[in-house]
Amino acid sequence: MATQDSRGILFTNTQPQQGFRLLELPPELDTLLSAKDAPSLELKSPSAALAQAVPDPSAQEYVNLCTTDKTYRIRQVQSSNSIHVLRPSLGRISRADIKVVEEEAGESGALNLPDDAVSAIAKCGSTLELHIPDGGFSAVPFLERSLQLYDRRDGDDDIMMDDNQATGDMDLIEVQRLRDQVCADIPVSAAQCEDGWVDICAFVCASAGWRPSARMRFNVWKRMAEGSVLQGIDLEKQFLVGDLWKSVLDDGDDSEAPFPRALLEALVRKLCTADERPPLADEIKWASFDKVECSRWVGETYLAAMAPTASSAIGRSDFLRSWKDSLPESWRGEASLSKLQDGAYQSPDPTTIFFVEPSQRQHTAKASAGAAAAKAKPTRNWHELLKSQKRN
């Protein structure tokens, strides 16, 4: 019998045991961690206040694993079997104990001790699995909770105006530090935090992080569009952001700034073509806008400002006219409903229109996709039914 010739390896159990966690690696993480210069990973969970940013109550307590640009939800999976972690034995077995096993082993398969021994040093009854939920992760809901709303009406006394000069001096490092502070509590990767930050045009001013309201963003856009016309700045060609800022100031008088420069820069960063967008840590000096992208953003922002809910729906033709009027002359053709993103708006009746928040959009898209999937698979094959259940 084959067993007679093969070597036996003494199997022992080490006390006390060590504490290990087993983490199942998706292929891309395996590649990342196997590399010589593998980066550190981070486990992030939301602060108690931020946990409520996600409406799903089952998802309020969790830990996410973050690489520099990816986020995974961690799920602890119990298994009925236990995994013992083995290591070559340190040879700390008493000779008397070995004898017991050795005798039992019989004369064959003589053990060459202590080299031929492995020892269980830890037992794990569960593994950590990683998954990315449908729709992925976004920092936006968390940023919306952690940043203050910036929504200044014309004529309002603005608390921030007093600080405006000071914030001009706030250096990039300090701004970065503040942003890092905000992002530390947001359980997604740094790159996704940056994307979210840019997406909602967040900015730092007077030692605080702000998110401009849709109306504020639209107003800033209008000032930019008007200023660019007055100063002859072609937004589609590369321009100096400093020139654009000067164009929105009334007669170049700095003290009369209608909003913080950081807000204008946040908008420019959001609207500039992706290949020109510098990392958030760097100042944005040059930019040019893409006509199609930018026009769409203006339309959606205007709709979000004027008709954020079904009950505040506005007339379609009014909307299209205002949208058109807020665009540079040569862009006016871009203002049509077909240019808006799928699901960005809904119409309660044929003449009115209102804005649908991106988070709501995913919901409806998912629901319809789920319905489609259910329709497509009217399987009665129990093999497949069980299989799909297991996956869940």
Binding site: G19, L41, H84, P88, A122
Partner: protein
């Protein structure tokens, strides 16, 4: 809540405590497992249905007791049984047919039959990093990846009686 950093590579001392622990062990620990199961740190997986029952004075829950465990502290090993890979030949490590069969003898009359399997996804073994040098700040917890394991020895069946080994 502050984030917890996971270092991609373990410090050398964490990988092989034997080096610092047993100065009389002049050579590095030889790994008796088939080459396929060997990893740089020496860690390998053995999956078992059920538990290993140890003498009662030893805790069997596998729980990590921070007070009692220290790599430099006293550890002791209790022999459990004998592992065998009957079809494995060190001379021909590339032939993987041997993976189909593995035995774990426990006591004289019991044997479990299992196999060596490639894990569907590799598994990283994480451990709390011993803070060396850093101020003993309990708030700062760090983890490190000790090893990435790709195979396991799997015994999914119950022990069967054998009359002689």
């Amino acid at each position: 809540m502050p984030s917890i950093r996971i270092h991609p590579h373990a410090s050398p001392a964490a990988i092989n405590p034997a080096a610092s622990l047993s100065p009389n062990l002049s050579h590095p620990l030889t790994n008796p497992l088939p080459q396929l199961l060997q990893t740089p740190s020496g860690l390998a997986f053995l999956e078992l249905q059920g538990t290993i029952n140890l003498p009662s004075n030893e805790s069997d829950d596998g729980s990590y007791n921070k007070e009692s465990y220290s790599p430099k502290g006293n550890t002791f090993e209790t022999p459990v049984g004998k592992l065998m890979f009957p079809d494995y030949s060190a001379l021909n490590p590339d032939d993987t047919k041997w993976m189909k069969r593995a035995y774990l003898y426990v006591g004289r009359y019991q044997r479990m039959t299992g196999e060596v399997k490639k894990l569907p996804r590799p598994i990283a073994v994480l451990q709390r990093r011993e803070s060396s040098g850093a101020p003993p700040n309990a708030e700062v917890e760090e983890l490190e990846v000790l090893e990435i394991v790709r195979y396991k020895i799997l015994f999914k069946n119950r022990p069967e009686p054998v009359n002689d080994v």
